[in-house]
Amino acid sequence: MNQSTIKKFLSNLTLITAVLALSACQSTVVEETVEVETEVETEVETIAVVDVPVLDEFGNVTGWMRDGTFIRNPDYVEPVVQTAPDLLSQTILYFDFDQSGIKDQYRDVLAAHAAYLASNPGLSLRLEGHADERGSREYNIGLGERRAQAVKRALLLNGVSTANLKTISFGEEKPRVQGTSESSWAENRRVELVYR
C-alpha cells in the first residue's frame, strides 16, 4: 500500500466509524455511505459530516453533496459518449442478403459504442448475429456468426478489448419480425448489440 492508498483507507475507516456513531438516530444514511470509496482529504477525519456521492448516468462519481452544497469531483471527466446519445441508442445493425459487410452508415455508431466501452471497462458487449428465414438453418447459423464477427472486428479496430466482446449466432431462430416479405427479411438480417 502506498501512502495515498493508506490515507484513503484510513479516511474511509473514519467515515464508517462516524456513520456507525450516527446510525443510532439516522439509520437511513448508512446504506448510502459505507459502500462508496470516496476521495476525502485527511482533514475530513476530524469532521463528522457525511458526503453523499452524486453519480452520472453511467455510475461515475461527479462529486458529493455536503450539507446541501455540491462539491465537484476534481477527477471526474464527462464521458465522451454523452455527446452522442443518439448513436449509442442504435443497437441493431442491418445487413444485405447473404452479406456480412458492415454498411458505411454504421461507422459512427460503432465508434460511439467503442468509446462507451472504453470509458466503461467493466461492461461487456454481446454481439448477437441473425439471418433471415431463407435457406438452410445451419448455414444461417454460419451467416449470423459471420455477421457478429464482422461487427466484433470493427469494434476491435476501434480499440475495444477482445475480453469485453462475445459473439453468438442465432441464425434464423430468433426473428425480430414475423413475415415473409423482403421488408421483414431485411429487419431480421441483423446483429444486435446487447450490454451485459
Binding site: 428465414e133 435457406g135 438452410s136 445451419e138 448455414y139 447459423i141 449466432s169
Partner: protein, 436 residues
C-alpha cells in the same frame, strides 16, 4: 370452440393449452408416405378373422390398408366392395378376386393362446399369377398390436416391391408453440403414421438440428438453453441426456457416423470460422476435418462411413462438398444453381437431398454426386430441411404455409407431387429414423 361464450371458459382453455399440446392427443400428424403414383397396384385387405369367443381385439387390416394406401404405390379396395366372402380358409378363389379387380389379396387369422397373447397367420395371394406369395405367422401380444400391424405392412411391401418398407420407422421434428415473443420449442418423436407422438425435450430457447443415431436409440440435437449453442445426445428409452459439445462459439449441426461411434459437428471454437469436426463420442476428442475461411457446416456421412458431405461457401455461394472422414482436400459435388445446401445422403449410393435455389425459390432437389445432375422435387418458395426415408423412396421436408411451418413428403424419384401434412403447430426440421 366457436360456440364458446364465456371468457372465463376461454381463459381456462388457454391455461390448459400447454398440457394439451404436450400430450398431442388432439392434433394428429398423419404422414402420408408419398403422393399417389399413377400405376398404383389394386389390393384387397380383408378384415382379419379372430378365432375366439370375445370380440376381435384389434383391426389389423385397417392399419395395413392405411399403410399401403399411404405409400402411394397401392390402391386398397373399400370393404363394401369386397363382395366375395367369407375368408374362412376355404380354397382361395383367384378368379372371383381377379374379377373384382384386386391384383393382390391379403387375408389374416389370429387366435388367443393365453391372456393377451395371440398367434397370427397372414396369407397374401397374387391373383395375376394365381399363387400364394406369402404365408407369415407372428406371435402378437396386446402391447404391440399396432406395431405388429406395421410389421406386417413392411413384410407385404417388401415382398411386392423388393424394397424394405418404412411403416415401422419414426420421424423426429421440432414444433414451436406459444406466441411470437413467448415461444416454447418441443422436440417430438412420432411413428411415421403420426401415432405415439412424444415430446422428448422442451425448451424456452431454440432447439435445432435433431439427428438419429444409427440404431435409432439416441438423438443428437442443438439447444440454446444455456445461452449458447450446445450439442446434446439423448437416450430415447431412458430420457437421460448428456452435453457433448459446449465450446466457445458455435456448437452445431450434429450427425452420427454409420457405426455410431463418432459425431460430426460444426464448431467455431471462438474464432468465428465454422468448420466441420469429427468427435469421438467415447473420449469427446474432436478432430478438424475442414479448414477454410468459409462457412463449412451441415455434415452428413456417406453410407460407408468413409466420407462426409457438407455445405461450404468457399466458392462464394453455398455448394456441396465431399471430404474424407480424416480430412484433407474437399471435392465439390454440386454444380447446378447458385445455392445448394444441407446435404442428406440417400441409401441409393448416388444421391443427396439438398436445399436448392431455383430463380429465388428455396426448394428441395436431389443432387447426383456421381455425375452432378440435379432433379427438382418440390415447387415451394421456402422449402428446407430434407430427410430421406431409410429405404430411399421418400423425402420428408419442412415448408411454410400461412406463416406456419408444416411438413411435406415427396417421392425421391420425382414421380409424385408434394403432399402437405396437416398443420399441428409450427413444425420444422424433420429427420427420418433409421430402420428399427
Amino acid at each position: 370452440m366457436k360456440t364458446t361464450k364465456s371468457n372465463v371458459f376461454k381463459i381456462v382453455l388457454l391455461s390448459f393449452a400447454f398440457s394439451l399440446v404436450s400430450s398431442l392427443s388432439a392434433a394428429k400428424l398423419i404422414i402420408p408416405v408419398s403422393g399417389s403414383v399413377d400405376d398404383a397396384t389394386p389390393v384387397a385387405v380383408l378384415p382379419f378373422e379372430y378365432v375366439g369367443t370375445s370380440s376381435a381385439p384389434y383391426d389389423f387390416s385397417e392399419v395395413i390398408e392405411a399403410d399401403l394406401q399411404s405409400s402411394g404405390e397401392f390402391d386398397p379396395m373399400s370393404r363394401a366392395d369386397m363382395v366375395v366372402k367369407p375368408n374362412d380358409g376355404a380354397i382361395f378363389n383367384y378368379g372371383d378376386w381377379r374379377l373384382l379387380g384386386a391384383d393382390v389379396v391379403i387375408t389374416g387369422k389370429y387366435f388367443e393362446t393365453s391372456s393377451g397373447q395371440y398367434n397370427l397367420v397372414m396369407d397374401v395371394f397374387d391373383t395375376v399369377r394365381t399363387k400364394k406369395i406369402i404365408t407369415y405367422s407372428l406371435p402378437v401380444n396386446s402391447q404391440n398390436l399396432r406395431a405388429s400391424a406395421h410389421h406386417l405392412s413392411d413384410v407385404i411391401y417388401e415382398k411386392l416391391t423388393g424394397i424394405k418398407g418404412i411403416f415401422s420407422t419414426r420421424v423426429v421434428y421440432i414444433n414451436v408453440v406459444g406466441g411470437f415473443n413467448n415461444k416454447t420449442y418441443e422436440l417430438i418423436v412420432s411413428d411415421v403414421d403420426g401415432e405415439n407422438q412424444a415430446v422428448v425435450a422442451r425448451s424456452r430457447a431454440p432447439l435445432m438440428s435433431p439427428a438419429w443415431s444409427p440404431d435409432g436409440r439416441q438423438l443428437a440435437y442443438v439447444s440454446f438453453e444455456s445461452d449458447n449453442s450446445e450439442i446434446f445426445v439423448q437416450d430415447l428409452s431412458t430420457g437421460s441426456r448428456r452435453s457433448v459439445s459446449n465450446k466457445d462459439g458455435v456448437n452445431s449441426s450434429p450427425a452420427f457416423s454409420p457405426d455410431g461411434k463418432s459425431l460430426a459437428v460444426t464448431l467455431s471454437r471462438g474464432t468465428g470460422n465454422l468448420d466441420v469436426y469429427v468427435m469421438d463420442l467415447a473420449s469427446g476428442r474432436v478432430k478438424r476435418i475442414t479448414d477454410s475461411r468459409a462457412i463449412d457446416t451441415e455434415a452428413n456421412w456417406s453410407e460407408d462411413g468413409q466420407s462426409i458431405f457438407f455445405t461450404s461457401d468457399r466458392a462464394g455461394q453455398p455448394q456441396i462438398y465431399k471430404v474424407s472422414k480424416n480430412g484433407g482436400t474437399a471435392k465439390r459435388v454440386s454444380f447446378v444453381g447458385k445455392y445448394n445446401a444441407r446435404p442428406r445422403v440417400s441409401v441409393d449410393g448416388k444421391n443427396l437431398a439438398v436445399v436448392h435455389v431455383d430463380e429465388g425459390a428455396y426448394q428441395i432437389a436431389m443432387v447426383n454426386y456421381k455425375n452432378g445432375q440435379i432433379l427438382s422435387l418440390t415447387d415451394g418458395s421456402l422449402d428446407e430441411a430434407p430427410s430421406v426415408s431409410p429405404n430411399g423412396r421418400i423425402v420428408i421436408y419442412a415448408t411454410t404455409r400461412d406463416g406456419k411451418g408444416v411438413l411435406a413428403t415427396v417421392a425421391a424419384d420425382g414421380r409424385s407431387k408434394p403432399t402437405y401434412l396437416p398443420a399441428v403447430g409450427d413444425v420444422r426440421e424433420p429427420a427420418w429414423s433409421p430402420f428399427r
